[in-house]
Structure formats: C-alpha cells, structure tokens
C-alpha cells in the first residue's frame, strides 16, 4: 500500500459529491448542454476513484482504464454535441422538455 497525502475516505467522499452533483444536474437541467456537462462530471468522479485506488493498490490498470474512459468521453461528447446541433437546427432550441419525438 502506497501512502496518500490525504486520507482515503476524503477522496471517496469528494468523488461521491461530484457524482451526486452530476446526477442532480442530469435530472434537473433543462438545457441539453448542461446535461452533457453533468454526464462528464459523473464520468470524472468515477475516474478520480480509479486513479486513487490504482495508487492505493500499486496497480497501473486503474490509470490505464482512465485513459479509456477519457477517450470514450471525448467521443461521446463529440457525438452528443453533433446531435444537439442537429436538434437545434430542427427545433430551434435544446430544451429537453420540448423533445418528445422518441414517443413510441
């Protein structure tokens, strides 16, 4: 076990706070761009834990996984923003409450 500059519990609490903020953002925001940003927040909360536990266990696998998550997040952001641009052109807004075309 490698020493940490700050006790382990603090990291976990910070990560939990960040994740919860993300969830609240996704559930409450009306602007789709804010929702995308909230998703990023949740992903990075998870990344933080991955890095911390990689350090704790002395296993680089966790850090490598973070790179994968970042890559996927970048791709997701690109696709998500592209969809939002298309939606904006179609509807004139990115307010998720006004989007209901997926109704079955």
């Amino acid at each position: 076990m490698n020493a940490l500059p700050v006790p382990l519990g603090n990291y976990i609490i910070l990560s939990g706070i960040l994740f919860s903020l993300g969830v609240i953002g996704v559930l409450t925001a009306r602007n789709a761009i804010v929702i995308l940003m909230s998703i990023e927040l949740m992903l990075n909360a998870a990344n933080l834990l991955l890095v911390v536990f990689a350090r704790v266990h002395g296993d680089l696998g966790g850090q490598v996984m973070v790179f994968f998550v970042l890559t996927v997040a970048a791709a997701e952001a690109a696709v998500g923003l592209a969809i939002l641009v298309a939606v904006f052109r179609l509807k004139g807004s990115v307010d998720v409450d006004r989007l209901n075309i997926l109704k079955g």
Partner: protein, 644 residues
C-alpha cells in the same frame, strides 16, 4: 499440349462470361465472333491433346487443377482425365460444336437476342466438355446438371412463345427425374466405395461385387435411370420431341449430337460396373432395342420435319444403348460419333430448309426444293444415305457393327438383332420419306414463299459435316472388308477391364455368317429407300390409300401411342392435384397460419411495451436513476448479507 488439357472447357466459359456481361454492349457481330472463336480454340487444343495422347503408352492423362472438396476423409479434386474415350468425346463436342456455332451466325442473323443465344451455347459447350473430361462422378455431375440447365435455357430461348416455355420446363422436369437416379447412384457409390474417383471405384468394384452383387445391380440401374433421362430412352424420352421448340442449331448441337449422348457416354464410362452386374446390361440392351424400334415407328408418320428427326434421334440413341447392352462398348461410342456427324447435318439441313421457307416446318407444305437449294439437298441426301446405312458412308460402318455385335456377342441374341434390323428398315424408310417429301415432287407451298439457298456461313458447315458423314466411319472400317477396326483398338484400353469380366467372345462364328448379316443390313437399308421411293415418288397416292386402310394404326402412330396423354393422366394431373391440395390445406392453413399467429402474438405483446416509451426525456432520466439506485441497493444488501 497435355498441360493445357484443363483449359479446354475454360475457353467456352470465357466466351459465356464475355457474351453474358458485355454482349449487348458489343453488338451481335462480336457476340457471334466470340462464340465461334472460343469453341474453335477449344477444338484446336483438343486436337493437340489428342495427338499428345497418342504418344503416351499408358493412354491416360490425369490433371487436377485444384482441390474442390476436402471434408474429413471425403476428398474430391476438380480433376480431368484424358483417355481415348474422353478424347473422342471432346473432339466431337468441340468440333461439331464449332461447326454449329458458325452455322448459328447465319441462322440467328435476324435475331436481336444473339448475345444471349451465344452465351448460352458457349455455356453448354463448357458444361459438356466438363462432363466428358471429368475424372470423378461429382465433377461429371456438375457437367450433367449444367447441360440440363443449358438445354432448358435454349429450348425456351424464344420464351415469349408459350409452347417453347412449356417444352423447356418439360425437358427440365423429365431430366430431373432421371437425375434423381444418377445422384442416388453417386450416393450409393460413395457410401460403399468411399470414393467417387473413377479409377478407384472401378478398381474396388470386383471386390464389392463379390461381397454383394445386388448393390452393384442397384447402382447400375440407378445410373441407367439417369441415362434414360438425359438420353431420351423409354420411359423418359417424352421431352425430346417437344425440345424441337428451340432454335434448330440448338436441336442439332444439344438434342442430336452431344448432350443426349451423355447417357451413352456415362454408361460406357462405367462399363466395369455394368459388366459386373449382368442384369443391368440386359436391361440396357432391352430398353435400347425397344426404344429404337418404338421411336422409329413414330417417326414414320410425323409431318413436322424436326419431329421426324427428333424421333430418329431417340431411335439411334436406342441403337447405341443396344450396343452397350451387348457389351460392344466401342461399337456404341463409334455410332455415337458417326451419329453426331450425320444427325447434326440432318438437323442443320432441316434448319436451312426452315430458314429458306420462312419458318415453315410442315413437310406437307414443302416439295421440290431440290433445285432451289442444291447445297442443302446434296448434303442432306448424304446424311440420309449415311443414316440409312448405305456403304461406304459413316452410318453403314457403325450401324453394321452394332447389328453384328447384337447377334454374335455372347450376351447378345438373334431377337435383339431382329429388332435392330427392322429398325434399320424403318429408319431408311422414314428418312427417305422426308427427303422425297421435302426436296422432290411438286411444289406444295404458296406462291409468296421463295425458297433460296442459305448464306455461306450456313452452307459451309453443311459441307464439312457432309464430308465427315462420308469418311467419318472409315477409321473403324471392319476387318472383313479389309479395314483395321482402328477405332476399336484405340478405345480398347478403356474397355479392357469390362471385356475381361464379360464372357469371352467365342471365335466360332464363320466369316460367311458375318458377310451374310452384312448383306442383310445393306439390303434392308436399300429396301427402305426403295419402299419410300415407291410410295412418295412413283405413286404419291399410295400413302393416302394405306392411311385409309390402316386408320387405327396410323392414328396410334400419329398420336405417338398417346404416351403423353397417358403420362398426363397418370402422373402429371394427380401430382398437380395433390400439390394443390397440400398447398391449400397445409401451406396456407397450417404453415402460414402458424407464422401469422406468431407475428400477431408479437404485435400484441409489443403494444403493451410501447406504452412505456413516452418520449419524455426527464421521465426517462428519473426512472433510470431510480432504477440504478434500486439495483445498487440490492447489490449492497446482498453483499452485506453474504459477508456478514
């Protein structure tokens, strides 16, 4: 040249691809050129391979361009075998095929679909060459099915005519019945021999025959069933007369010279199997003899020029099977070759007449064409003399050999000889009835038809085939007339195993007997010709008188013994009725009902599920989040219970 053997079937395949893909763009002149050139190349390579074969002592060359199937211990190379038998066949197929391609350029000159025509014709030559070059049963089967397909395509070439489309289908379906037998035979062979390669099967056959004779009999009969379909023998001959709906060069190539002889070739190739099961040889001989006389009797009264030739073809194929059935394999193949020359010539001559008469095929509306079309007349006459067995033409040599063998062979009989001899008489009669009706006597066609000699592209092949019909038989000129029976010696390596199995030929027959039978065979030919001359030239009212007197027999023959009607009532109609019943009751109600029921069930289930798709984002997100919390909570709860 032997290393090029594998390319022999490939050239027509190339022609097929070029004409099939680019024919319409390149125009019909190019199509004809490609069609002829590719077959000519095949012929030249075949000639080269043939001469190379003469210089190797074992008289056999096997080449395997690639492995086709390898599954476990089932191994089939895509291999070709060149031996005297296949060498004769490839020369006939590509040689006669080339002449008929050239003829087609003239005959089909006005047809806008020439590219399609030549691509099919080339495809046929490809499959036929594959069939005869094959070194195992499976490769042979590819060719076998392929020529059947091409036959279907070309009989129905003018598919806008309902009768042509129906004839094509009839040919295909009847052939399939025979093919069923052939494929079952191949399964049996693989099952019991563990291989489908010819040489291995024939090597192991005597052992298998000793262990179980019935098995070989079954294989032989099934193989012969395939042959009766392809070679139009009783009971599956009914498709060939209808096949005359196709263009006449097609009738000449496929339905006279090459494809219909595939059955004869196959039986000859499997001579060892047939020899080991004497019952099958007897069946081959009886079916052959019966078909020969039966078809000849129907040819007597036909009024359609091509129908006469069609029945004549069936009858001559019967001769070939008769020869095979009495163990005279070389004689059968010899007749196959000479028949290819003179029957192709007869068909092409008939095509020339039809072309000149603006598609008139009825003999009753011809007459006196001798002066209008001299080349056609003289070449047709040569072919008619050849098929009638007048020496020294090709047909005489091969037919006389069959007659002699059917009498003298240890498994022959005087009865078979008698049937064959009567057939020869009938053959000479109906053939010269045709000649006299078409070319001699008064003009019986209307004034606005102006028959004319055909163009050079049609006349030249006639002349070449005319020459072949005269000299083609000389390579097998019999010993007793000072010849060397070279053809028989050439084929001997192929049939030596079968000959060893069959009872030895006794040398007891006197020369006098052989001369006597030969005299009889010449005499019946001449009598047939004289009889036709008497009835159709000397006293043209005689046939009418006979017809009135023997109305019953005449109608029986004219209606072809009502065989088509009997087949229709006994097999076709019940089959269609049963199929319709099964279609309505089983397909529509049971199968479709089950499929539609399942689809309806899925639809009603989906209707329940679709109500959850509200399309509202926030509701979805909240539901998702709650679901996650619940799932996570459950996992934590389970974890706590396990650990503590």
């Amino acid at each position: 040249m032997l290393s090029l053997v594998w390319t022999i079937p490939l050239w027509p395949l190339l022609g097929f691809l070029l004409n099939g893909f680019f024919g319409r763009r390149w125009g019909k002149n190019t199509a004809g050129l490609i069609g002829c050139a590719t077959v000519l190349i095949s012929f030249l390579v075949s000639v080269g391979a043939f001469s190379a074969l003469l210089s190797i002592p074992e008289r056999r060359f096997i080449t395997a361009p690639f492995d086709w199937i390898t599954v476990g211990n089932f191994h089939v190379p895509f291999s070709f075998m060149l031996d005297p038998l296949s060498a004769v066949m490839i020369l006939v197929v590509s040689g006669v095929g080339f002449l008929i391609h050239v003829y087609s350029v003239g005959y089909m000159g006005h047809d806008p679909d020439q590219p399609r025509y030549f691509s099919f014709l080339n495809l046929f030559v490809f499959f036929m060459l594959t069939l005869v070059l094959a070194d195992n049963f499976l490769v042979m089967y590819i060719g076998w099915e392929g020529v059947g397909l091409c036959s279907y395509l070309l009989i129905g070439f003018w598919f806008r005519r309902p009768s042509a489309a129906a004839a094509g289908m009839k040919a295909f379906v009847v052939n399939r019945i025979g093919d069923l037998g052939f494929s079952l035979a191949i399964f049996l062979i693989f099952w019991n021999f563990g291989t489908v390669t010819f040489s291995e099967v024939f090597e192991r056959a005597p052992g298998i025959a000793a262990a179980s004779g019935g098995l070989l009999t079954a294989i032989g009969l099934l193989l012969f069933m395939g042959a009766t379909g392809k070679s139009a023998q009783i009971p599956l001959y009914v498709w060939l007369p209808d096949a005359m709906e196709g263009p006449t060069p097609v009738s000449a190539l496929i339905h006279a010279a090459t494809m219909v002889t595939a059955g004869v070739y196959m039986v000859a190739r499997c001579s060892v199997l047939f020899s080991l099961a004497p019952v099958t040889l007897l069946v081959v001989a009886i079916i052959g003899g019966a078909t020969a006389i039966f078809a000849a009797s129907m040819a007597l009264v036909q009024n359609d020029i091509k129908k006469v030739l069609a029945y004549s073809t069936i009858s001559q194929l019967g001769y070939m099977f008769l020869a095979l059935g009495v163990g005279a394999f070389a004689a059968g193949i010899f007749h196959l070759m000479t028949h290819a020359f003179f029957k192709a010539l007869l068909f092409l001559g008939a095509g020339s007449v039809i072309h000149a008469m603006s598609n008139e095929q009825d003999l009753r509306r011809m007459g006196g064409l001798k002066h209008a079309m001299p080349v056609t007349y003289w070449t047709f006459l040569i072919a008619a003399l050849a098929i009638a067995g007048v020496p020294p033409l090709a047909g005489f040599v091969s037919k006389d050999e069959i007659l002699w063998q059917s009498f003298s062979s240890p498994i022959g009989s005087w009865l078979l000889w008698l049937v064959a001899t009567i057939t020869a008489l009938l053959t000479a009669f109906y053939m010269f009835r045709l000649v006299f009706l078409a070319f001699h006597g008064e003009k019986r066609y209307s004034g606005d038809v102006h028959p004319h000699e055909s163009p050079a592209s049609m006349a030249r092949p006639l002349m070449v085939l005319g020459v072949l019909s005269v000299i083609g038989g000389w390579i097998g000129w019999p010993k007793i007339l000072g010849g060397g029976s070279w053809f028989e010696h050439f084929l001997a390596p192929v049939f030596e195993h079968a000959e060893k199995i069959l009872p030895a030929r006794e040398a007891g027959h006197s020369l006098g007997l052989e001369y006597g039978l030969m005299a009889v065979s010449i005499a019946v030919g001449l009598i047939g010709i004289g009889w036709a001359y008497k009835w159709y030239v000397k006293s043209p009212e005689a046939p009418e008188r006979i017809r009135v007197r023997f109305t019953g027999i005449y109608n029986l023959l004219l209606n072809k013994y009502w065989v088509d009607e009997i087949y229709d009532a006994v097999i076709v109609r019940p089959l269609i009725g049963a199929s319709r019943f099964v279609y309505r009751r089983f397909d529509l109600e049971v199968v479709d009902g089950a499929a539609n029921g399942i689809a309806r069930l899925a639809q009603s289930l989906a209707a329940v599920g679709v109500s959850t798709s509200t399309g509202r984002f926030r509701l979805g997100a909240v539901t998702f989040a709650i679901g996650c919390v619940v799932a996570l909570g459950w996992v934590v709860y389970m974890f706590m219970r396990v650990s503590g």
